[in-house]
């Protein structure tokens, strides 16, 4: 899905936190958003996900404004994802269950993504009792299982061990290639951004620099 942002402004009280003239995100590309803390990266991502409103400007997704049906094709993964008080498997299949996907397809897709992110052995474990790295892998599995067209990642590998980072990066790149997914990823790790992304967006005080 292509996303076009024009003259976007977001303010908290009198402080402008995002001020973007024009920026486009093309389908099938991975974008890295980086910058200092407070640069407006997370706010930008939340606006794109429809989780926060903006004060001025226009955002279109394949030339359409964001509505309920488009929201179902976009997902956002935060640095500290919330996992439901149920098993890892129940967490992962949740997006498919609410879409009334056939149970056999649910089983197959869950199996594939759990294998891909190496969380199959955690299947019946309570999701709230997982370590940081395991939680992030399960949350990513849950975000990818329903094949979203846009994946918004807010520091998905912060405070995670190198082996888990590799698994997560591989899964992201694989899905990006296979499904032509638009991925926008915030990261403070410049090496990671260079390694993974087609384009890098540097932000400072809400603006692209």
């Amino acid at each position: 899905m292509n996303i076009q942002v024009t003259n976007l402004i977001k303010k908290y009280q009198d402080k402008t936190v995002v001020d973007m003239n024009s920026i486009g995100f093309l389908s099938g590309n991975i974008y890295g958003v980086t910058g200092d803390n407070g640069a407006g990266k997370t706010t930008l991502l939340k606006i794109l996900a429809g989780l926060e409103s903006h004060d001025l400007g226009n955002i279109v997704y394949n030339d359409q404004p964001l509505g309920p049906s488009l929201m179902k094709k976009i997902t956002y993964l935060s640095q500290t994802p919330y996992l439901m008080r149920s098993s890892v498997y129940e967490n992962i299949i949740y997006p498919l269950k609410i879409r009334n996907v056939d149970s056999k397809i649910i089983e197959r897709k869950a199996f594939e993504i759990m294998e891909e992110l190496q969380v199959a052995e955690l299947r019946d474990q309570l999701a709230t009792q997982l370590s940081g790295g395991e939680s992030q892998k399960v949350a990513l599995a849950r975000a990818l299982v329903f094949d979203p067209e846009v994946l918004l990642l807010d520091e998905p590998t912060a405070s995670i061990d190198p082996a888990t980072i590799e698994i997560i990066e591989e899964a992201i790149k694989k899905r990006n290639k296979l499904q032509n997914m638009t991925i926008i990823m915030i990261s403070h790790n410049i090496d990671q951004v260079k390694r993974m992304c087609d384009e890098i967006i540097y932000m400072k005080k809400g603006k692209r620099i």
Binding site: L51, T75, L77, Y82, P95, I98, A143
Partner: protein, 229 residues
């Protein structure tokens, strides 16, 4: 100690004698507490969820007000309800004073803020994250609400148990608005208070033990239901 042992003996006798009056008192106590808990939950749970998640002006003031209302003095509430429902009061024409309905109203005023406060507090902390997960995974409004209730089920049950516990243990307000009328508005707590004031300590203790047993049973059932243990 001797009084307690005598009370325990009396409690067993009370239960196994199948005394109609005693079972009537126990039944009325449970029935009233259950009714007031259900009505308070119908008001408190949706309101607590909504206000907990929704950002609004004066939220901090609202929080302080709710916490204050969680410790409303029962006797004062009883007095106010009695003034409103008494024959000469604004709602006197309804003829509710010294009826079980008046007792339910008083209990509701006391426990609604408790249920609301517990739900509101947890919804304020957890609610936005749960709502965000629902939205980002493609859940509609009803699906998000269902997710919220499922995720907060333990808190909701804690709120219900606390509300029910407060209702069953309430004495001041129900005494004033109910009048402790034998066979009509006499409940376990007013029965205990009356017997205690008359010096029938063994009878009072025995009913106290019954009250504790009921509370323990309700908590056990709910604990089992929530945790599966």
């Amino acid at each position: 100690m001797a009084l307690l042992m005598e009370g325990l003996k009396e409690a067993l006798l009370l239960l196994f004698r199948f005394d109609r009056e005693v079972y009537g008192i126990i039944g009325l106590s449970i029935g009233l507490s259950f009714t007031s808990t259900i009505f308070s939950a119908i008001i408190g749970i949706p309101l607590g969820l909504y206000l907990g998640i929704k950002p609004f002006r004066f939220k901090k003031t609202f929080t302080r007000t709710i916490y204050t209302m969680m410790s409303l003095p029962p006797v004062v509430i009883g007095l106010l309800v009695a003034l409103f429902l008494s024959r000469s009061g604004p709602l006197g024409s309804l003829g509710l004073i010294f009826t079980p309905t008046a007792m339910v109203i008083a209990q509701m005023i006391l426990i609604t803020p408790i249920i609301l406060g517990i739900v509101y507090n947890d919804a304020k902390q957890q609610g936005p994250a749960i709502k965000q997960i629902g939205m980002t995974l493609g859940a509609g409004r009803l699906q998000t609400l269902k997710l919220l209730i499922t995720e907060m089920r333990i808190t909701l049950l804690i709120a219900l148990v606390t509300g029910f516990g407060r209702a069953t243990s309430e004495v001041g307000a129900v005494m004033i608005v109910g009048g402790n009328i034998k066979g009509h508005t006499r409940v376990m707590t007013t029965y205990i208070a009356m017997n205690s004031s008359m010096g029938n300590y063994a009878v009072a203790i025995s009913m106290g033990i019954v009250l504790l047993l009921i509370s323990f049973m309700v908590n056990t059932i709910l604990y089992h239901y929530v945790t599966g243990e």
